[in-house]
């Protein structure tokens, strides 16, 4: 009907991508009297803001945010379940990032996997051959060689009090067969030999990393990489375009640990529909539209994201991710692990940063740190 309705759409990330804007414009055109108030909010404050609004009883109609918030939103009855159409075929593991006890709470809309970027100029300057390391030992040896023979650091590590400190760590943990939460029982599996091995490796990496990893977050490592200060670091597919053209970069899957195979953390950001905005129906419709088929493909391809849908299975051809560096990001999807879904995701994050900073700053032994982290995580669950 012709009632004027305004959807409040919070778009985390501080910027509205053209692909999304196009969908929204079309949506407005198709629904008479409907306007969409798109509010782009930078990541640093966006999720807090959406949650604050919801907590205060004035939720946005729809929001694009990290999937990690889903459990919190769902448990507190702030969002409605997503209604994902059958013809939308997600990549392996993607739906896990929005599924809680069988219910899907969001429409995954952006997907990332990670791989190792190597600056071959530096590696070669250190007198080594620039071959992708496949194991941690190889990776460490390469980094050590760089430190010994050049002014650069071997590897860039993120260790700041920030979400991607945990994300970076999980890339290694999942490449070592580690598990954070048992999907079946929902219990903490953090206190394990795999975690110990990973943390120990992190400790080793810290000795060949850039100065003071605890002051760095992942996206700043890009600047170090571009400046030739680090020989390698783990980053998403968008990194390739952000790196200086004159750098001879090599991309490789995250090397495998002693107890596992090369993996990655699977992170998605989702469109969620809030409860109580009064426009749930419309919002669902918009969410479905913006996350399906061509709309989604346009976003992924224009942005350079890991493909979130199995576009091949959906009958698309001439896919952007079939060549170049892309295999390094798509190959590990099946062996990757999800960002743990926890209601209190800030606590989860601080359990990890505490553990990681502990080893980087040599505050405690690996054993103690992992034991404590395991207990803290169990408490938080």
């Amino acid at each position: 009907d012709g009632h004027a309705q305004e959807l409040h759409f919070i778009m985390c990330g501080g910027e509205v991508r053209a692909a999304d804007q196009a969908v929204v414009d079309q949506f407005e055109a198709d629904n008479d009297g409907v306007t969409v108030n798109l509010e782009a909010v930078p990541w640093g404050t966006c999720q807090d803001k959406s949650l604050t609004l919801a907590a205060a009883g004035d939720p946005p109609s729809i929001a694009y945010m990290g999937s990690r918030t889903l459990r919190q939103l769902a448990n507190n009855d702030l969002i409605v379940p997503a209604n994902i159409q059958d013809d939308v075929i997600y990549q392996d593991g993607v739906l896990n990032t929005v599924t809680i006890e069988g219910t899907q709470w969001g429409y995954p809309h952006a997907f990332s996997t990670k791989a190792l970027y190597i600056n071959c100029d530096i590696v070669e300057a250190s007198g080594q051959e620039c071959v992708a390391p496949t194991t941690w030992d190889e990776m460490y040896a390469m980094a050590e060689g760089v430190v010994a023979n050049t002014d650069s650091a071997g590897v860039g590590l993120a260790g700041k009090d920030f979400d991607n400190t945990m994300h970076q760590f999980l890339n290694y943990l999942y490449s070592n067969g580690g598990v954070v939460i048992d999907p079946a029982t929902g219990e903490s599996q953090l206190d394990s030999a795999q975690t110990r091995e990973t943390l120990e490796f992190y400790g080793k990496l810290a000795t060949v990393s850039q100065e003071g990893p605890t002051a760095w977050e992942r996206d700043q490592l890009k600047d170090l990489f571009n400046d030739g200060q680090i020989a390698m670091y783990v980053q998403g597919p968008w990194g390739y375009g952000q790196h200086n053209e004159d750098i001879n970069q090599l991309v490789a899957p995250v090397p495998a640990g002693p107890s596992g195979v090369s993996g990655t953390i699977l992170i998605t950001d989702s469109i969620v529909v809030f409860k109580g905005s009064g426009h749930e129906e419309l919002a669902q419709e918009l969410a479905q539209r913006i996350t399906s088929g061509d709309s989604q493909y346009d976003l992924d391809s224009s942005w350079g994201l890991t493909p979130i849908l199995d576009y091949a299975a959906m009958g698309k051809t001439d896919l952007y991710y079939e060549d170049g560096i892309w295999p390094n990001f798509t190959a590990t999807i099946s062996t990757g692990g999800p960002e743990p879904l926890l209601e209190d995701f800030k606590s989860l994050q601080s359990v990890f940063t505490n553990m990681i900073q502990g080893i980087i700053l040599e505050d405690d032994t690996v054993d103690n740190l992992v034991t404590i982290a395991g207990e803290e995580l169990a408490d938080a669950l």
């Binding site: 907590a55 009855d77 702030l78 850039q210 100065e211 003071g212 002051a215």
Partner: protein, 310 residues
């Protein structure tokens, strides 16, 4: 001019307005401000206190009595946070006072250009804290910042030094940034106080042979002592609740090295949506500050006795 009054004022004088009773008038004056605060702040305040007895999150809430407080009382981490917060406060306030004194003395010196210098002290006070802290983030950056860069080129360090990476250095770096924010206001208030000191006293002391340092120590300091004391209390409250500085520089890390009570409270209440526990922290902050202010007022009394005129 015999009948001046007849000529000047004809007729008797009628009062214009009936005067209101003092108390009624006073409350008419205060009323709007009170009402405004009541509507905007009092309810949230009461809500905060109420919530501190609740287990409350994004969903419902449940009365838990003193459990939130009990948890805090028993938490070793929280104790450490309190100790750290007070250390943070004393250190930062102390530095602000010392720097403020030095700065005010310099700006008070009769040298050409001091009007300009006085304006140049202002920016950290004026600039929104969030923006100022981004400046400090740059400064503290080990690879791209001027501090580490200068240290390297001066040969003090071999490689870059990341100020915010280590527990101690991050804490002290945050203190320095906080001092930077708070110093201008302290400086300017001290400066104003110094200008209020009677010149006679300095001249008398000078005639008696007292040098600059002696005059500073024995006249300036005691004379501006009331301002020092009242500024330090105000500054202590601000510093205790200083949020943006730490939040933007370190978010409380690494390993909680810069987590003060206000950061802890914000993380708990706003980031983690544990409203009940967060509120309990907020209430504890007010209690601690209240007790601190009370102690301080006693110090003030003592100072007044020592340095006052009575």
């Amino acid at each position: 001019m015999a009948d001046v009054t007849q000529q000047i004022g004809q007729g008797t004088f009628k009062p214009k307005a009936k005067t209101l009773p003092e108390a009624v008038f006073a409350w008419l004056l205060i009323g709007p401000a009170m009402l405004f605060i009541a509507i905007i702040v009092a309810w949230p305040l009461a809500e905060t206190i109420r919530l501190s007895f609740m287990e409350a999150g994004l969903g419902g809430e449940e009365y838990v009595g003193l459990a939130n407080y009990q948890d805090l009382v028993e938490s070793r981490k929280f104790h450490q946070t309190i100790v750290r917060t007070f250390y943070w406060m004393f250190l930062s306030v102390g530095l602000k006072l010392v720097l403020g004194l030095i700065g005010a003395t310099l700006l008070n010196a009769a040298v050409p250009g001091r009007a300009l210098f006085r304006v140049l002290v202002m920016p950290p006070w004026i600039i929104p804290m969030a923006i100022g802290m981004i400046g400090w983030l740059w400064l503290y950056n080990g690879y791209f910042g001027v501090l580490s860069g200068s240290m390297m080129s001066l040969g003090i360090t071999d490689g870059p030094f990341e100020f915010l990476a280590y527990k101690r250095s991050a804490f002290y770096s945050a203190v320095v940034a906080d001092v930077w924010v708070g110093t201008p206001m302290v400086t300017l208030f001290f400066l104003a106080a110094m200008q209020g000191v009677s010149r006679d006293l300095y001249e008398a002391a000078w005639v008696d042979g007292a040098g600059r340092w002696y005059r500073f120590r024995r006249i300036t300091i005691p004379q501006i002592m009331p301002v020092i004391v009242s500024m330090s209390l105000l500054s202590a409250i601000f510093t205790f609740n200083s949020f943006e500085v730490i939040w933007i520089l370190t978010e409380g890390g690494p390993r909680s090295a810069t987590t003060t009570l206000i950061i802890d409270t914000y993380k708990t209440a706003i980031s983690n949506f544990k409203f009940g526990e967060g509120s309990a922290r907020a209430v504890i902050i007010v209690i601690l500050l209240g007790v601190f202010a009370l102690l301080y007022l006693n110090v003030l009394k003592f100072v007044n006795r020592k340095y006052g005129t009575k």
